[in-house]
Each structure stands twice: as structure tokens, then as C-alpha cells.
């Protein structure tokens, strides 16, 4: 009943989630979905933080996750505001159409 799980499984899960986030960044076409992929990557990294915190009994690892959440909140607020203003300006959130920064 009191089964155990190796710590590396958590880390593998974290890596898998992170890679999925990267892939999402590459394949999603909507700006807002891409932003979600970023959140996914952040979460994956958080998971590895917590795992290592448990592994080494270091409270600061969890504190770090806490700060990441704060930053993620701030980033979400600003990022979404940017998305709104882009949508206002361009009328779309499809990244392939928001490519004015080229010749």
C-alpha cells in the first residue's frame, strides 16, 4: 500500500510537459494559445523545482516556485493586455499574419 515512486519519474514528467510546451509554441497559430504553451512550460519547470525541493529537503525550492507563480501572474496580466492591444490593432491573433517586423 505504501508504494513509492522514483524521483526521476516526476522529472521525466516535467521534461515531457516542457517539451509539449515547446511543441505547442511551435504549432499553435493563435497568439493566446501560444501564451498558454508558455504557461505550460512554466508549470513543467515548477514541477521539477518541487521535486528537487523534496529530494533535497530544501524549502527554498518551493519558495522559488512561489516566486515563479507571482511572476507568471504579472506576466499573464501584461501579456494578455498586449494581446488585447494587438487584437485591436490588427483584428486577428493569428501569428502568421502578425509579421510586420520584416522587410
Amino acid at each position: 500500500m505504501n508504494t513509492t515512486v522514483p524521483a526521476e519519474w516526476y522529472l521525466i514528467l516535467s521534461a515531457a510537459l516542457f517539451t509539449l510546451g515547446v511543441v505547442g509554441f511551435l504549432i499553435k497559430r493563435s497568439l493566446i494559445s501560444i501564451f498558454m504553451s508558455i504557461e505550460l512550460m512554466l508549470n513543467a519547470v515548477n514541477l521539477s523545482f518541487v521535486t528537487f525541493a523534496h529530494e533535497w529537503h530544501a524549502v527554498k525550492g518551493q519558495i522559488f516556485v512561489f516566486f515563479v507563480m507571482m511572476v507568471a501572474a504579472a506576466e499573464a496580466a501584461v501579456g494578455l493586455a498586449i494581446i488585447i492591444s494587438i487584437f485591436r490593432a490588427r483584428g486577428t491573433l493569428t501569428v502568421d499574419q502578425i509579421d510586420l517586423m520584416k522587410l
Binding site: V22, F25, L26, I34, V95, D96, D99, M101, K102
Partner: protein, 643 residues
């Protein structure tokens, strides 16, 4: 400074203040105020100089060197300051510059009265005084060079003062460009001095030279020749004299001040100042003497046939400067400075009197259309007479003493000296001839133009003439012996303790030669005026009237090739291949890089993300490759991580 009450920096700075006031505000000030500003500051400068002279007379020990002057360039062991120094030589120069300078300012008030750009003229003139006093007061070569360049600038501005006249602009440019050649030599000399002595201060260089383990003769000779090149440029000697005759395009008072009395003597001053160097190089001294004698002779021949009154004086100036160089070349620096001083008096007077004539004839400069002015312009006539007698070397006028001193010094320099002396004597004959020719053509005989309204000049112009006439008569009475003794601490004592009988004989000979020149001039021009400007000796005359075609020679040998090089070599190879080619190359490289890089800058967010991911992967591989392959450090890395 052992006496803080000399106010040396004020001597140049006061005229500079005048320049600033007139230059910045002059166009808006009333004429009277412009004149007042232009006169007050040089006068104040002169007062300071006179006060310094009086203090010296009262027993002030010279030289006075400012040791606490602000630093200018400090680099490693090199320390160049804005230091000024006053010694006997500087004092004489300052007296001449500010004294004659002030008189010419005064004269200009009358002469330039009707010119547009009145304020501009006086601003430039004050600027000139600023630079000229800086030149002679400077305690090191670099500050002297500042003044040297500055007087060149002022000269350029004033030659080209009549900005609506193309010839004036061309003459200004010619003066400037020719002077550049000389300045180049001066600059090289300064570099050499700095490289060899590590200092540019006159006193320190002199101390170095006095040390027994001095430099080898070759280096000194090179430095001296470079200095000499600079001096020939500024003082209009062979081969760089060609700018001075053209410089007569400027207003006549400018010719008097800059191109006769002061600036062109800067080269003589410089050689006298650097005499410690020249004394160590007999070769350089010989070159100086030969150049001086050749220039004196050559310019005098040309002066004999010129018809423009100012050009006669210009060539005469070149010739007299040649005398000064000759004096320097035979080691008689004090004689050179003596002649410099008397020449400043009588040549300034000649120019001013000529200016008065030109003024009276409303701009006529051709002597063939003058004549008979003795009655109409009595004051000008009599002052001019004094100057002519002085320059010709008649006893007891100023020129006699100084020229006699130079010739005597040359005579005592062995065989070569005898040859130089002969050249000098012949030149004296020619000098006397062309000056009396000028005198006869201008003042004697009858008027050779029908309608003219010659009038005597206003008193503000005549006053300087009379003062200068008095100086031209009496300027030499101090005598070479006392003058030389006064300058001896600076220039050393010339070693011509000649036989008194020989001296007397030489003097008599000089006066006789001058009288002969007068006689020849009288016999040709005295009676019948211009009609007897004979057609005899046609071919030599043609050579002389064309000034030996030197200008043409320079155009053919220097100007044309440079133009050709500029046009074809620089124009095609330089401009097309190098400049444009490199520009195109640069642009092409940049364009190709951009063409290549712009594909990365697609503006597409997802491609950026892909690059980001790829870069992260590459970085991770780079960092972890070793550990992943177990090649090295893996155990350490992991053990560090686990711990």
C-alpha cells in the same frame, strides 16, 4: 615670474579683446566706436610694452619667463605650457610690432574711411596683432607656431579683404598655400626638436645645446634646414617668396603692417630666436646666407622694372628681408634684428606714403601715370624722401647703420663672406636705383595724366607718416655697437672686431654705392620722365618684367603636376577606385549580409521560437555533451548535484 607687474599675457590679449568686440559686434556699432575700439586696445598693448621697456631701462633683469603659466599639453615627460617670456629680442620686436602697429591702425582710420567692411578690417588687424605678439612672446616653439599660423591666417584674411575682387581672393589663397609649405617645414622641425630634446622651451633647448655632449651635426642641420624652410615661407625668401608680390592685393596699410614691417620678419625673428641651433650647424648658416643674398639680389633686379608702386615696394621688401637672412647667415643676428627694426620703420613709411599717394589719386597704383606730386602732396613727399634716403643707406638715415652693419659682418666672414658682401653691395646699388626711380616717377617731373584731382591725405594719415619719418631718420642713431650689446644676452656677440679703417672704408663705399644708384636713376628718370624708360636692353628687361618667369615656372612645375595628379590620379584612382569602390564594396557587403540575414528576420513569431528552441538545444548539447557521453567530468557534475 620675478616681477609680476609686467602683465605679459595682456599684451596679446588686449588686441584679441578688440578683435572679439569688433568682430562680433562691429557690424552693429557706429564707425567712430569701431575706430575707438580698434585704436584703444593696440595702444594699451603698446603702453604695456613701453612700460616694460622703461622697467628694463630702470634695471629690470631680463629675461622674464613665466613659470606658472597654465599647462597646455601634458603627456608623459612632455610638458608644453602657455608660457610667455620677455627678453631683449622680444622687447625689440614688441616695440616695433605694437608701436608701428598702432601707427598703422591710426593711419588706417583715415585710409579705410570709405570702405565697406570697415569693422571687419579692424577686427582682422587686431587679430593680427594678437597673433604677432603671441609669436614673439611665446616661450616655446609650439606656442610660437600658434602665433605663426595665426599671423598667416590674419594675413590671408587681410590680403583677401576686398572680397568682391577675385584677384584678391586668389592672392590670399596663394599666400596661404605657399605658407603651408613653409609651415610644414617648421612643423617637422618642431617634431624633430621634441623628439631629440623632449622639450620645446627655448631656454631648455638652449641649455641642452650648451651641454658638452650635444647632438650630432646632422640632426641639428636637418632641424635648422626645416626651420629655414618655415622661415623662407613666412619671410618670402627663395624659393617661397612668390606670394608676397601678390599679397599687395590687400589694403595698403595691411601691406605696410603685415607684409613689410612685422609678419614677414617673423622668419628672421625665428632664426634669431633659434640661433643656438644654427650656430652649431655651419652648413645651415651657409644656406641661410646664400638664400638671403640670392633673394636680396634677385628681388632687387625685379624691383627695378616694376611699374606698380606697391609691387616695387613688395620686391624691395623681399630684397631687404634677404639682407636680414644674409646677416643671420653670417652669424650677425643682432645686425639682422637691427635691420629688421629700421626696415620696419622705413618700409612701413614707404608703404604708408605710397598708400597716401594711392589714396590721393583715388586708387591709381601705376607709377607711369603719376609724376609731379611733389607740389600737391608735400607732406607725403617729404616723408617719402626720408624713407627713400633711409632704405638707400645714406648717412645718417636709419638704413645706413643697419645695412652697413650687415655688410660689414659679411665682409669679415672669409672668402665666401667677401662674395656675399659683393652681392650685397650690388644689391645696395640696385636698391638705391629703384627707390629713386620710384621717387622720380611719383613726385618729380610733370603729371602724366591729364585729369586728376590729387589731394593731400587727412592729418590722421599724415601723423603716422611724420612719426615714422622721424624714426626712419633717427632709428639708426643708437648705433650697431650699443644695439648689439643690448641684444647680446639673447643673440650672442658677433665676432667681427674689425679694423676701424676697414669699417670706415666699407661705410664710405656703401654710401658711394647708394649715391651712384641715385645718380643712375637721376640720369634716366630725373629729366624727362617716363619717355626715357628706354627700350634699350630690351631682352634683359623682358626677363625682369616677367620676374624671371618664376611664377610660370612654379605653375608648370608644381601647380600643374599637382592639378594633374589631383584630377587624374586622385580623381580616378583615388576617387573612383578607392573612395567609391570601397563605398560600393562596403555597401555590397552590408547588402549581401542583410540579404542573407533578413531571411532570419522573417517577422514570424514561430520561426523565432524555432530558432530559440534550436539555440537552447545547441547550448545544452554544448554544455552537457561531455557529461552525457561520459567523457569527462560527469561523475563530478553528478556528485556535485547530488550533494
Amino acid at each position: 615670474m620675478n616681477d609680476p607687474m609686467l602683465f605679459l599675457p595682456l599684451i596679446p590679449l588686449l588686441p584679441f579683446l578688440g578683435f572679439l568686440l569688433n568682430g562680433l559686434l562691429g557690424s552693429r556699432l557706429p564707425k567712430a566706436l569701431v575706430s575707438a575700439i580698434a585704436l584703444v586696445f593696440p595702444l594699451a598693448s603698446f603702453a604695456l610694452v613701453a612700460r616694460a621697456a622703461w622697467m628694463v631701462h630702470a634695471g629690470l633683469a631680463l629675461p622674464v619667463v613665466e613659470h606658472d603659466a597654465p599647462a597646455w599639453i601634458v603627456s608623459g615627460a612632455m610638458h608644453i605650457g602657455f608660457g610667455l617670456a620677455l627678453d631683449q629680442l622680444t622687447l625689440v620686436m614688441l616695440l616695433v610690432i605694437t608701436g608701428v602697429g598702432f601707427l598703422i591702425h591710426l593711419y588706417s582710420v583715415g585710409y579705410m574711411e570709405h570702405e565697406t567692411g570697415y569693422w571687419r578690417y579692424f577686427a582682422y588687424l587686431n587679430l593680427f596683432l594678437f597673433f604677432m605678439t603671441t609669436l614673439v612672446l611665446a616661450a616655446n616653439f609650439l606656442l610660437m607656431f600658434v602665433g605663426w599660423e595665426g599671423v598667416g591666417l590674419a594675413s590671408y584674411l587681410l590680403i583677401g579683404f576686398y572680397i568682391d575682387r577675385k584677384s584678391a581672393g586668389d592672392a590670399g589663397k596663394k599666400a596661404f598655400v605657399v605658407n603651408r609649405v613653409g609651415d610644414f617645414g617648421f612643423l617637422i622641425a618642431i617634431f624633430l626638436l621634441l623628439g631629440n630634446f623632449g622639450t620645446l622651451n627655448f631656454s631648455e633647448i638652449a641649455a641642452h645645446l650648451a651641454a658638452p655632449a650635444g647632438l650630432s651635426g646632422g640632426t641639428i642641420t636637418l632641424i635648422c634646414l626645416c626651420l629655414l624652410l618655415g622661415a623662407t615661407g613666412k619671410s618670402a625668401q627663395i624659393p617661397l617668396y612668390i606670394w608676397l608680390p601678390d599679397a599687395m592685393e590687400g589694403p595698403t596699410p595691411v601691406s605696410a603692417l603685415i607684409h613689410a614691417a612685422t609678419m614677414v620678419t617673423a622668419g628672421v625673428y625665428m632664426i634669431a630666436r633659434a640661433h643656438a641651433l644654427f650656430d652649431l650647424s655651419p652648413t645651415a648658416l651657409m644656406v641661410v646666407a646664400v638664400i638671403g643674398a640670392a633673394t636680396a639680389f634677385f628681388a632687387a633686379t625685379v624691383a627695378m622694372v616694376q611699374t606698380d608702386i606697391k609691387r616695387v615696394l613688395a620686391y624691395s621688401t623681399i630684397s631687404q628681408l634677404g639682407y636680414m637672412f644674409l646677416a643671420c647667415g653670417v652669424g650677425a643676428y643682432s645686425a639682422a634684428v637691427f635691420h629688421l627694426m629700421t626696415h620696419a620703420f622705413f618700409k612701413a613709411l614707404l608703404f604708408l606714403a605710397a598708400g597716401s599717394v594711392i589714396h590721393g589719386l583715388s586708387g591709381e597704383q601705376d607709377m607711369r601715370r603719376m609724376g609731379g606730386l611733389r607740389k600737391e602732396m608735400p607732406v607725403t613727399f617729404w616723408t617719402m624722401t626720408a624713407a627713400v634716403l633711409a632704405i638707400s643707406g645714406f648717412f645718417p638715415f636709419a638704413g645706413f647703420f643697419s645695412k652697413d652693419a650687415i655688410l660689414a659682418a659679411a665682409f669679415h666672414q672669409g672668402a665666401v663672406g667677401k662674395a656675399l658682401w659683393t652681392v650685397g653691395l650690388i644689391t645696395a646699388l640696385m636698391t638705391s636705383f629703384y627707390m629713386f626711380r620710384l621717387w622720380y616717377l611719383t613726385f618729380m617731373g610733370k603729371s602724366r595724366t591729364e585729369s586728376r584731382h590729387a589731394h593731400e591725405s587727412p592729418w590722421i594719415m599724415l601723423t603716422p607718416l611724420m612719426i615714422l619719418a622721424a624714426l626712419s631718420v633717427s632709428g639708426g642713431w643708437v648705433g650697431m655697437d650699443r644695439f648689439g650689446a643690448f641684444l647680446a644676452p639673447v643673440t650672442g656677440t658677433p665676432a667681427n672686431a674689425g679694423d676701424a679703417h676697414v669699417e670706415l672704408m666699407l661705410s664710405v663705399l656703401a654710401v658711394l654705392v647708394a649715391a651712384a644708384g641715385w645718380f643712375v636713376a637721376h640720369s634716366i628718370y630725373g629729366r624727362s620722365g617716363s619717355q626715357s624708360m628706354t627700350e634699350s636692353l630690351a631682352s634683359p628687361r623682358r626677363v625682369l618684367e616677367n620676374k624671371y618667369w618664376v611664377d610660370e615656372l612654379y605653375v608648370a612645375c608644381v601647380v600643374r603636376p599637382i592639378e594633374w595628379i589631383a584630377r587624374y590620379v586622385l580623381g580616378w584612382i583615388g576617387e573612383l577606385v578607392l573612395v567609391r569602390g570601397s563605398a560600393w564594396l562596403m555597401a555590397g557587403i552590408a547588402g549581401l549580409c542583410g540579404e542573407w540575414l533578413r531571411r532570419w528576420q522573417s517577422g514570424n513569431l514561430r520561426s523565432y521560437a524555432a530558432w530559440l528552441a534550436a539555440a537552447a538545444a545547441v547550448l545544452l548539447i554544448f554544455v552537457l555533451a561531455g557529461t552525457l557521453l561520459g567523457v569527462g567530468g560527469f561523475a563530478q557534475t553528478i556528485s556535485w548535484a547530488v550533494r
